[in-house]
Symmetry: C2
Subunit: 225 residues, 2 copies
């Protein structure tokens, strides 16, 4: 075992953070297949990034590789998990249990990464009281109570656009500072609150733009995962 010299830099580039989950996924797969060590070249190949970029990314967490050999898979999995905060248990609440909310509640990718769906909340009396993915759907009136009592720190917004800002205001008021927003609106939040948005129709529009280009001119746009 080597000495943990570097105490981890306190300023990891945003672009690097966004790629760490990608590396982690590939590494999990390798660990399952019994791979013990991996070179930057191989891991880069498995994740579709440049190997120099990968090494620079990993160097931000410290010097965890061995020259001439590569990286120890298990050790790297642990380091990245720790850096991303996945070694702790995160309680997530999903607000809005329409088609999308339901899909998210049942999505396996959350649980397998240290995220626990702790509550489902909706405004529609028709669905309140239903059981989805083993959870009771609660009423929006109890939103604040549910969040505080269950220690929810991340809220997923899967409500209609019109309701999103109001729910956002209410959850930030009780201290939530991380929001994943699926509603097609720009949320305004207090300083210190992180919002990430996923807009399904925006992704399609970007594809349409490139598709149109291909059909039109001789300038072919090429893939970029």
């Amino acid at each position: 075992m080597k000495s943990p010299s570097q105490p981890r830099d306190r300023g990891i580039p945003e672009a690097t953070v966004a790629r760490l989950p990608l590396y982690l996924r590939a590494l999990h797969g390798m660990a399952e297949r019994g791979v013990a060590t991996v070179s930057s070249e191989d891991l880069a190949g498995a994740t579709g990034v440049n190997s120099a970029k990968l090494r620079k990314d990993l160097s931000h967490l410290g010097s965890y590789g061995t020259r001439g050999v590569g990286y120890e898979v298990e050790y790297l999995v642990y380091q990245i998990s720790r850096e991303l905060g996945l070694t702790q248990d995160w309680a997530v609440a999903i607000v809005g249990v329409g088609n999308l909310g339901r899909a998210l509640a049942n999505y396996g990718g959350f649980v397998s990464r240290g995220f626990r769906v702790a509550a489902l909340v909706d405004a529609d009396p028709e669905v309140v009281g239903d059981t989805i993915a083993g959870l009771n759907v609660e009423h929006i009136d109890d939103l604040e109570a549910v969040i505080v009592q269950r220690g929810v720190s991340i809220v997923v917004l899967a409500t209609p656009a019109a309701a999103a800002q109001k729910v956002c205001d209410r959850v930030t008021a009780v201290g939530v500072t991380s929001i994943l927003n699926f509603a097609p609106v720009v949320l305004s939040v207090p300083d210190g609150v992180d919002v990430r948005k996923v807009d399904l129709s925006i992704e399609l529009q970007i594809l349409a733009f490139h598709e149109q280009r291909k059909a039109g001119g001789p300038l072919m746009a090429v893939d970029s995962q």
Copy 2:
């Protein structure tokens, strides 16, 4: 009416393309509320971007503003729509009709932007033949036939991770060059094929990283929609 001097630059930055749908959404809202013209300052406020950036973005499509006044809402809606290729009808196929595929099939945001769900495909005999969102679910064996016959040009992958690459290979083989991938795998595709990926668990992991930072050190990360 002004002369359409600039014939539109053939090299719009990727970052700009990614923001155009955002502007378009805000402009649609304004048009509905009867707003005739809008300044870069106002539109920037409504979309959460810097006004200089917004002006530079729009300048890539040509000079469609009037100094001292702003931009004509209707005209800008048309220009952006045209640039993104939304004035034509795009046939989309959704492969994989699990929870997520179902949610996507019912998602209103697609239809309202010129996208038409032309086919639902799945491998599970249990769901093949079902009607979802008014569409008959077809068998994966007919994948190629369905795509060709209906003129599908964009494929949405909502399959399990293990099946995604195979489906991807099959659809690219019959000429599809635009793929929206929800499966947590890195797809390998021929040159000239665009892949955009949406990974729900990656977004949560990025939030968790920042959340952990906030709890730990005095360096507070701030929002960035």
